[in-house]
């Protein structure tokens, strides 16, 4: 079966997973939440298979390379890393409500990859600049960073919602969300992982740029925006560790940070720069 066909099905399965998690929360039925987990696992397995298939397929075409070379492949990989981190988080926290806030992101990334008319799902050969051993380590570190920040974003939204919960309100949906203390802790953990991964991503990118273009830093918009993102999360970490900021402030800063991530990922495509192969 064709890899992009499986990936289209995955998109649909992630949407169903989102609906199941949501129903589980709205109706307060554990059955639906559990169904959400099964659907997530199903989608994730199918997606993993499709990525491997795509990799094999590229070798059969004689242009073998890891499926991490254009916007389509990067979106697929982004949602894959997001689901991987999420499933680990669900297993560790034993809480399924986070799924309601994370699976829509994975679904949206896949839907954008599958249905946008500007994105080609064809396997394309690597241009000379991308033929480097640094491609895999650069893309993997960056996208694990993005995924951790996306999780932190989801958790921050949950935090802000949970603050609306009061004893007299008795809202089922809000009551199921974990306590603000747990969310705050999770948020910080995700930011730390994301920051470490983003740092590694920028460094591997620099090493690669140095061997491809001769300079490790050229202030290209994507580089600059990744630095802006890094600076924002660096301030989040400083406010927390030194100034002791917690809770709402960190949640809001994390949402700002994720906006920077999104701009680094998509926004810079509207600005001229060296990362043009990541546009289509």
């Amino acid at each position: 079966m064709n890899n992009s066909l499986i990936l289209s099905y995955t998109t649909f399965v992630y949407f169903l997973a989102f609906m199941a998690y949501l129903l589980g929360m709205v109706m307060n039925r554990a059955f639906f939440s559990r169904l959400g987990t099964y659907l997530s696992l199903l989608g994730f397995t199918a997606q993993t298979l499709a990525i491997i298939l795509r990799w094999v397929e590229s070798y059969k075409m004689g242009i073998g390379h890891a499926p991490l070379s254009n916007l389509y492949e990067s979106l697929v990989f982004f949602s894959w890393t997001l689901m991987l981190l999420y499933l680990i988080l669900e297993w560790r926290t034993k809480n399924r409500t986070i799924g309601t806030f994370v699976t829509p992101l994975a679904f949206l990334a896949m839907a954008y990859a599958s249905f946008s008319p500007n994105i080609s799902s064809q396997i394309q050969p690597l241009i000379p600049a991308l033929k480097s051993n640094w491609l895999i380590s650069h893309v993997i570190t960056c996208f694990f960073g993005y995924a951790a920040f996306a999780l932190s974003f989801g958790v921050s939204i949950m935090y802000l919602l949970k603050r609306l919960d009061t004893a007299e309100k008795d809202n089922r949906f809000l009551r199921l969300i974990p306590s603000t203390a747990i969310l705050d802790d999770l948020n910080y953990q995700m930011i730390v992982i994301g920051f470490l991964m983003l740092t590694l991503g920028i460094i591997t990118g620099s090493v690669w740029a140095h061997s491809a273009w001769g300079t490790y830093w050229s202030w290209d918009p994507k580089e600059t925006w990744s630095l802006i993102t890094w600076l924002v999360y660096a301030s989040v970490i400083h406010t927390r560790l030194v100034k002791g900021w917690k809770g709402k402030k960190i949640a809001i800063l994390s949402i700002v940070g994720f906006a920077c991530v999104l701009f680094t990922y998509f926004g810079v495509n509207y600005l001229a720069g060296l990362h043009s192969y990541a546009k289509k």
Binding site: P128, L196, S211, G214, I228, L231, H238
Partner: protein, 477 residues
């Protein structure tokens, strides 16, 4: 009066200096600087920088242009004010680190008393173990186990009770210093590159030799002190027309004598004589020869094929005017070789059009609106039809030639940053207390601990320590 003034002066200076120091050591300043750097960096991604700025500046209102120019917004990242901002951050970082060092050192070097009872306040039954041996024997065993996993182990005895303290991970307090040092190293490496390094380029025709490169910043030539010859340049394409590989076969020569031969590919730079060469671009030059076929469609068809040189006028076979080849390209828009023909009829306006070598293939690839344009029509001048049957061009290779002595320092900084972050985020100082209390002929062993972060990890380590102690007693009885 005079006396008091001179007495006050050093005091005033001291006060001023200490308030400056206080200002520079505040984390508020750090956060303000980080956010400020982030915000101004955005400006540089919206306004095109360097060469790209020319096109952008053309469309600006003159007053706006002057404003941008004064603020150096067209080369923002090299502007003194931007560098000053970074210098400020570096200074803030140094002052903060110095300011906090004494308290960090204290936390690192202080060894708490082994007989503290506060850590045991939240003990659970799991932290307790009753040993069937006498208290001295038990405490010897406990000390051995504690020493195998923890540092700074020391003890205190009071009556029949033995108290132990041990810790691990106390060096993790310095992780944050490693991170901050790494930032400074990266900045120093960057400065070294901009002071003692250069970024240059050179285009070399196949078979030719270059002994100079052109510095990008100043556009001035720089003598290499050796020569580079491009023996051959080759470019491969995929079936789709996308480039597959660019390769230059280079020979490095000193005083005209070949010293080393290297193949230069994208992503595989070559170093010679302290200069690193990168495959950056390529092209082909148009001053050679092309072979053209000219068909005149009429009652008496005329057909001629001849070799023509660039920029020389030739008469049309029917005598309606002249033509010349004004540009020759080995590959244009991934459509293969083409020449640009300038045709001057005896009557009417001169016309220019491209003649492709593989016109059949071009017809399939080119979008219809472009195909309809006279610019791409080999029959643009009726009744003639031009065909390109051969093209002799020479490639040149475009090399980037850089020297950057700061690079190893930057890499060292990157390595330190990752290790420092790892230590700061994932390692913690775990302090452990173990007390062995005499109870008749036996002994009661209790463990407790505190940590600066990661309480879950501490619980795990406490369990582990307790299991080790229990195993020791079960083994030896």
């Amino acid at each position: 009066m005079k006396n008091t003034q001179s007495k006050n002066k050093p005091h005033v200076i001291w006060e001023f200096l200490s308030s400056v120091w206080e200002f520079l050591s505040s984390v508020k300043l750090t956060i303000v600087l980080l956010i400020l750097l982030a915000i101004v960096s955005i400006v540089g991604t919206v306004i095109p920088q360097g060469q790209g700025a020319v096109e952008f500046a053309k469309n600006l209102h003159p007053a706006m242009f002057r404003f941008f120019k004064t603020l150096q917004l067209f080369d923002m990242y090299n502007a003194p004010w931007f560098r000053l901002l970074i210098a400020f951050l570096a200074l803030n970082l140094v002052v903060c680190s110095i300011n906090r060092f004494p308290s960090t050192w204290k936390r690192f070097s202080t060894k708490p008393a082994p007989d503290r009872s506060k850590p045991f306040e939240n003990s659970t039954p799991e932290d307790c173990f009753e040993a069937g041996v006498n208290v001295d024997k038990a405490s010897t065993r406990v000390e051995k186990i504690l020493k195998s996993g923890y540092k700074n182990v020391h003890q205190k005895t009071s009556g029949a009770n033995h108290f132990f303290y041990g810790d691990k991970g106390s060096l993790s307090y310095f992780g944050v210093y490693v991170v901050h040092l790494s930032v400074l190293l990266i900045l120093v490496g960057g400065l070294m590159g901009s002071f003692f390094g250069f970024e240059a380029y050179v285009n070399i025709l196949e078979g030719e030799i270059a002994d100079q490169v052109i510095i990008r910043k100043t556009m001035r030539p720089l003598d290499l002190g050796f020569e580079v010859r491009c023996d051959k340049f080759s470019v491969d394409f995929y079936e789709s027309g996308a480039p597959k590989e660019f390769k230059s076969n280079l020979t490095f020569m000193v005083n005209g004598k070949a010293v080393r031969k290297n193949d230069l590919l994208v992503n595989h730079p070559v170093e010679f004589g302290g200069v690193t060469f990168y495959q950056a671009s390529y092209g082909s030059v148009a001053d050679k020869e092309a072979r053209l076929r000219i068909d005149r469609k009429s009652n008496k068809p005329v057909s001629s094929e001849k070799t023509v040189k660039g920029n020389i006028s030739y008469p049309l076979p029917g005598g309606e005017g002249t033509y010349q080849v004004v540009d020759m390209r080995n590959d244009i828009m991934h459509l293969g070789p083409a020449v640009l023909i300038l045709l001057k009829p005896k009557t009417g306006e001169p016309i220019e059009f491209w003649v492709f070598k593989n016109y059949d293939a071009v017809q399939k690839k080119l979008p219809p609106p472009m195909l309809a344009s006279p610019k791409f029509n080999p029959e643009a001048f009726s009744p003639y039809r031009f065909s390109l049957t051969g093209l002799k061009t020479v490639y040149y290779t475009g090399l980037q030639a850089n020297r950057d002595p700061g690079v190893p320092i930057v890499w060292a900084g990157c390595f330190l940053m990752v290790s420092g972050l790892f230590v700061t985020f994932f390692m913690s100082h775990k302090k452990m207390w173990v007390r062995v209390l005499g109870q008749g002929t036996g002994a009661k062993i209790e463990v407790a601990g505190t940590t600066n972060k990661n309480p879950v990890g501490l619980q795990k380590d406490l369990r582990h320590l307790m299991t080790n102690i229990q195993n020791e007693f079960h083994k030896k009885g």
